[in-house]
């Protein structure tokens, strides 16, 4: 048993060694690597100014290529990873409060004084403090790789999703296809996680996830083709711009419903939370993951949640268009939260389906209906309705 004094001694010794070693690490960086690479770094004076004055800090960040208009900032902060992670934590909190209201509970209440707004932060610190347990027989490399890949794939989805006419990370002529290409990798990550866990429940959960995701990717892609036919482009920007008069959910109602169902399945949400069915499979392919491993996998899933809800908003709900009294970004976020609510709500009123029922729904019904939806789109275009 470690006493508090031992603990203090350990901390002090760590600080001592860090101080002792820091010249060995820092001096070569300053005097060898940076001059050789030719990177300009802020002087001490500039650094201290930036700390005191945020406005000058932004100017300085612009000068050194990490300002709000730089690509680095877009990818790392807004509208990229940090924003998405914040949205993900917001979704987690919103989900818990919403489900609690349906179930006549209060949900998170104490963290952050007001309605438990800081609960996700508290959960994050709890997960950070947990021990990361790697099973003895696990495939160590892949076991560690899966959480990283999961969050990487979630973040990669954001690359081409625009938030408003001038807020986007990258623009591509086929920006609709890129998210689907990335989603196609998800079963691989799940299978890696499941297989590396060396656990029967995780293995069965992984196989179920594999069946489920593959069964639902095809109708997902075909249901979106209707939108492509109506707008005549694979560029998300142009798709949104062509919804200026009428949102595509009106001519493409069937497609929107199919896309919504496939989103539920893709995110493994009730009634399609079959891979994580806790009463038969403990926690499915997440069974062996603990601590921040689990946190990263969950964060990856919720970033994917955000990205797919955003995709639904862009494809069917007219993106950022709305009456002019609110800025485009505000309209987008309002619609986004409407979609998120609709995606969350089935969890409150539906039980879990069985894998064979889900497969029949996917392969038989949804694929057939998505082809019908495709013909509807063709007819609408040929009649000149849109």
């Amino acid at each position: 048993m470690e006493t508090f004094e031992d603990f203090l001694k350990r901390i002090l010794s760590i600080i001592f060694w860090l101080l002792l070693l820091s010249p060995v690490i820092i001096f070569p960086i300053f005097f060898l690597i940076i001059p050789v690479l030719g990177i300009s770094i802020p002087t001490t004076n500039e650094f201290l100014t930036a700390l005191i004055d945020p406005i000058k800090g932004i100017q300085l960040a612009d000068k050194y290529g990490v300002g709000p208009s730089s690509t680095f900032f877009k990818i790392a902060a807004f509208p990229g990873f940090t924003f998405a992670a914040l949205m993900a934590t917001l979704i987690i909190l919103y989900e818990r409060k919403l489900i609690a209201k349906v179930q006549l509970r209060v949900g998170p209440l104490y963290a952050g004084r007001f309605e438990g707004v800081l609960q996700p932060i508290a959960d994050l610190f709890k997960l950070l403090g947990k021990e990361i347990i790697v099973p003895e027989r696990a495939d160590k490399l892949f076991f560690w790789l899966a959480p990283i890949l999961s969050i990487g794939l979630g973040a990669a989805l954001l690359a081409v999703l625009p938030l408003s006419p001038n807020i986007y990370i990258a623009r591509s002529e086929v920006s609709l296809l890129i998210p689907f290409a990335i989603i196609g990798f998800t079963p691989l990550v799940i299978l890696i996680a499941a297989w590396a866990s060396s656990n029967k429940f995780a293995f069965i959960g992984g196989l179920r996830a594999l069946h489920q995701l593959i069964a639902y990717e095809i109708p997902m892609l075909i249901s979106v083709l209707g939108v492509v036919i109506l707008s005549g482009s694979l560029d998300l920007m142009i798709i949104v711009e062509s919804q200026q008069q009428v949102w595509f959910i009106i001519p493409q109602l069937l497609g929107a419903i199919i896309f919504y169902i496939t989103i539920l399945s893709e995110l493994e949400r009730t009634p399609f939370d079959i891979p994580e069915a806790e009463t038969e499979l403990v926690s499915g392919w997440l069974t062996e993951y603990t601590g921040m491993h689990f946190g990263l996998l969950q964060l990856g899933l919720y970033i994917k949640f955000y990205a797919l809800s955003l995709l639904f908003t862009l494809l069917f709900l007219g993106g950022w268009y709305g009456p002019a009294f609110l800025p485009p970004l505000a309209w987008l976020l309002i619609k986004l939260f409407f979609v998120i609510t609709v995606v969350i709500l089935p969890r409150a009123v539906m039980p879990r389906l069985r894998i064979d029922q889900l497969m029949r729904l996917g392969w038989v019904w949804l694929i057939a209906l998505s082809f019908i939806n495709l013909f509807i789109a063709v007819i609408e275009v040929s009649l000149g309705l849109i």
Binding site: Q103, S198, P271, I274, T279, A348, V349, P351, R354
Partner: protein, 368 residues
């Protein structure tokens, strides 16, 4: 992952005892693809020797001891014990005590069924159906607490009567609670029992045929779901059950959904029984006080009652000492466990929770 070859494409899964869907016991399931080819229940993890321990306790000390196996249905297990002990001790309990016992037994049946319903909801992945019955169960626990004094382990029924009279204003509160809960039952039906997804998970799953139910010795709601009109309250009335009118819900299908519906209808029947009892009750003594040490006559007593999970049977042998010579309990859970492996074979792995918990198996009760 290292895969051990089990022969063919089969895989052995140990569901429990540390598993969110098992409770304090284990099912060793052999699956071939998605189908269960063999299911071997493995109870005994919470065996404490309750029957043997009962031989070293007096008749009064045995009451809190013997309700431990199934605290969720405490009156359901203490009532038959007390009825048997009364025969050994040769005492009669007054009429009002009989009525209060009936109230407690039916309240406990509701509490137990609501607990079952909550767990069944979460077993099917329906989290709202977990929260609602758990919340509404508190109302009935409050009612029972106002009579018995504690939330679950009442130790309320004693040889010769009951410990306390029902408190002032109990009738009004009970009727108000029932009125509220009848509205809630309709909401349960809307969100869960009439939900097409829930029906698709339970209708036609785990069918227990009439002759198999008799052959395997199934009791209680599970038996009534298989089309057999059998209820100890009607067949061999104890307390004053022959004075009240109530129906026994019987379903012919014998599948998981029928077992659910039987329990849902029994909630209504239990409330009706309590209403009638509250109307019939007259003021009077509640306890026949026994002076001195309780020492029974040498002899035996058998009592059978209808607990929440089925027929609860007590056999007490006395040799005239302060302690019973032998207490034998035949619990409904253990008898329903026999049907489990029969029902699981041939169903899908995902149907395991739907079948398993529809039997309302309580591991602690079965292990005693």
């Amino acid at each position: 992952m290292q895969v051990v070859n089990q022969g063919g494409d089969q895989m052995v899964l140990h569901v429990g005892p540390q598993h969110p869907g098992s409770g304090h016991f284990r099912i060793i399931v052999t699956i071939d693809g998605d189908y269960i080819v063999a299911a071997k229940p493995d109870p005994g993890y919470v065996h404490r020797g309750a029957e043997k321990m009962a031989e070293y306790r007096t008749y009064i000390q045995n009451i809190p001891h013997l309700e431990r196996p199934v605290i969720i249905d405490a009156t359901g297990i203490t009532l038959p014990y007390v009825l048997a002990a009364e025969r050994i001790l040769d005492v009669e309990s007054p009429e009002r005590a009989q009525y209060i016992r009936m109230i407690m037994a039916e309240l406990n049946r509701i509490i137990s069924h609501l607990y079952w319903l909550a767990i069944y909801g979460i077993f099917l992945g329906h989290s709202t159906m977990f929260m609602w019955p758990m919340g509404d169960r508190e109302l009935f626990i409050d009612l029972a607490e106002s009579i018995g004094g504690t939330r679950v382990t009442f130790s309320f029924v004693v040889p010769g009567g009951v410990r306390n009279d029902i408190p002032e204003g109990f009738k009004e509160r009970a009727l108000k609670t029932f009125q509220y809960f009848e509205k809630r039952i309709k909401e349960y039906e809307e969100i869960f029992f009439n939900n097409p997804l829930m029906k698709s998970r339970t209708v036609g799953i785990g069918i227990l045929k009439k002759q198999n139910a008799i052959k395997l010795g199934i009791t209680g709601p599970n038996l009534r779901a298989s089309g057999i009109d059998s209820d100890t309250r009607k067949d061999e009335p104890y307390c004053l059950y022959d004075e009240v009118n109530f129906d026994i819900p019987v379903y012919q299908e014998g599948d998981s959904y029928a077992r659910c519906m039987v329990r849902l209808k029994e909630l209504q029947q239990s409330m009706d029984i309590i209403r009638q009892v509250l109307d019939r009750m007259k003021p009077g003594p509640i306890k026949h006080v026994i002076r001195g040490v309780m020492r029974g006559e040498p002899g035996e007593a058998f009592v059978r009652t209808e607990a929440a999970r089925g027929t609860m049977f007590f056999h007490i042998v006395s040799d005239g000492e302060r302690f019973p010579y032998r207490v034998k309990i035949s619990v409904p859970s253990f008898r329903n466990l026999i049907g489990m492996s029969h029902l699981l074979v041939g169903s899908r792995l995902a149907d395991m929770p739907a079948v398993y918990w529809s039997l309302d198996y309580w591991p602690v009760e079965a292990d005693k």
